[in-house]
Amino acid sequence: MSTTAIQPVPFGRRLKRFMADRPLIPLIILLVILVLVLQILRPGIVNERWLANTVKFAIPLAILAGCQTMTMLTGGIDLSVGTVATMSAFIMATQVVHHDPAVAILIALVPAVLIGLVNGIGVGVFRVHPLIMTLGTSLIGTGCLQVYQRTVIASGAKIPPFLAWLGTGLTYGVPNALLLFIPVAVLIVFTLRRTGFGRLIYAVGDNEGAARLSGVRYWQVITALYVISSVLAGITGLLYIGLIKAPSLSLAEPLVLPSVAAAVIGGTSIFGGRGGYTGTIVGALILTVLTTLLTILQMPEGARRMLFGLIVLFVTAAYLRIIEDR
């Protein structure tokens, strides 16, 4: 049909097109390069134990980045995930002193659902900008956590053994956290690709007006989405406390910006309608490896941060260059 079929296409061009059609491949190549650099700088570091550690720390980040991916696909963002994860972790750890772990976990997920609901209604019904809405609820959530914290000072905190097992344990050298992560990841990918809800997430993010004319009720999609995002964040909090084993009032806050970065590095557009979760997972791995790389490098903290910023920028720019098809 087109001339390209007649003329021989240069190999570089073909390779580029191949990559553009499978954006995951260049991303994985970038990840491998980072790992190689790490191995060259510290020969021997890339061993079984290190791999397990990296996966353990990448998983909570990847789940939170999943929340960002899904909300970003609708043109939103969820900055409350850090607060929600922290809240559920802290509440679970303090409630488990009085209750059965299962009950404690249920109690801990209640605020997550509430915050998700408020976010969803604010964004979906009142049309508040998601950035502001989730920032606001995260402030409110933090405040509530502070108030709650004072009432449980004396009760102490405990981490149920199975959460610790899930968070830190290894089975034949494989992190147990994958038992939670693989189903979650499969579910997210499946939801986005093969369910009506997933289609609506993309549609609403691409052109809300068009979705409306097709009979989509925006507020329903958005509310459901933010509730799901919050619940995922709550579950992440439970996993994370199993990993860190120290309930603090700012436990998961440091994960918020990296979770946004992981989604964007993974190829999800912050303007909505474009992207997916598999890229995000690789994005989370890239960030985790990068953190290790910088920890291992002995240099002044300032230089370390500068390098971090530059590498994130470089990786994203290189990735965009590769997958761009024009």
């Binding site: 369910t195 009506g196 549609a203 068009a210 004319l213 009979g215």
Partner: protein, 512 residues
Amino acid sequence: MTTNPLLDATGVVKTYGAVVALRNASLSVLPGEVHALMGANGAGKSTLVKILTGAIRADAGHILIRGEAREVRSPADARRAGLLPVYQEPSLIPDLDVASNLRLTGTPVEPFRAWVRELGIPDLDIRDIARDIPLAVLRVLDLARALAVEPDVLLLDEMTAALPANLAEKVLEVVRRQGDSGRSVIFISHRFVEISALCDRATVLRDGETVGVVDIEPGVEERIVEMMLGARIEKTQVAARQASQAASPRDSRARLGVANLRVGTKLNDVSFDLANGEVAGVVALEGQGQDELFAALAGSIRPSGGTIEVDGKPVKFAHPADAIRAGIAYVPGDRTEALTMQRSVRENIALPFSAALRNWGPINMAQERSRVVSAIERLQIDTRAQREVQRLSGGNQQKVTIARWIAAEAQTILCFDPTRGIDVRTKQEIYKLLRELADQGKSVLFYTSELEEVQRVCDRVIVIFGGRVVDVFPVELADEPALMRAAYGLPRGAKEDVGILADIHSSPVAKP
């Protein structure tokens, strides 16, 4: 007298990834001529205009302006070189008022105002925000803005497509005078009437290649069509409907009943019925309330009064979802309103399936696929670039908006100007499709800005003027003069000779 071309482009190539938008396009425009650029949907007309005016870069090609090779690297460059485009989409900044938009482009205000008045919009307030201005007026403002700087070459990309007849007529008038005063115009349109009335020569594009340049003279249309499509198009046109053919016996219960519908100040009192198996045409000048009528029937806005009945039962639509549940589908005129541009053709067509809460679960992929494929086949959508709808050409995008509702098996389809900016063959296909739908017992409400279409597709004509139904008549009586008269709110059979150029505001309107 030697006439050197003012603008001469040869061997222009542009590819988007695997898609070749322009293969080998050339265009040569002489001073003082109105030059038509013709081609089927997806031939590359807009792409060529964008390249000539620096909006995108060509991969290869030579462009000479007044005999000199001049690099036009941005629209600003083009402007300096005397090339001024009016693109297919409005180019005013939505959040700025008109005055600021003029300042931004360095357009003198007084000539602009004069042109706006000349183009048939007497009461423009230049402090209005562009976002609040209706599409048709925006197109005219774009044109006036281009005219005000007296360009050497004016490039009009489907300028008249979204305009109602009265405004389109003024535009043609003005463009003709441009040619007379020694300036050149490149004119893109799918309407042969306009081409033959206006243009001196035509360049025909097919699949990104210039296949010929012809002088416009009586009878040339046939040749152009042949060149455009690469083969002789079968002459069978959907014949004007005869009353005897009308599928719906009058006694059958109305599918859609509208009584005394009111929306804000725009739509005052509209009543009509739509039967199963019927295509009813809505005829109206720009801004007579037809937008509101369609939006209200689609559940997109809430009427302020009146009733809507579906199959005899009164309904209230709070959301398009309600209308869709009642079997009413809406195809808006502006395809960017209906499509999710970054998603695939398949997802766009299947979108209404997943809208209802109970369909949020897993999708039956095989079933979806077969429905989508049959809709694509039925509309003959060119799916070469189907991974993203935005890569389809305008006409194919338009087809996707309709295909969605064919796949969803909607009982009633509200089509608002579905042939806007579509080539002749596709138009024929759409006419045929609408008739077929009617023959299957579905009902169609059809607004069009091209009056001749009414005769081709409709069973009945509903004329709206000033937010009211002023007339309803069968299609046999609907020749163009009759429609035009009715559209201006004149009673049927009135003797006055009211030309197309009559001012709406001074025309003798039946006052409410």
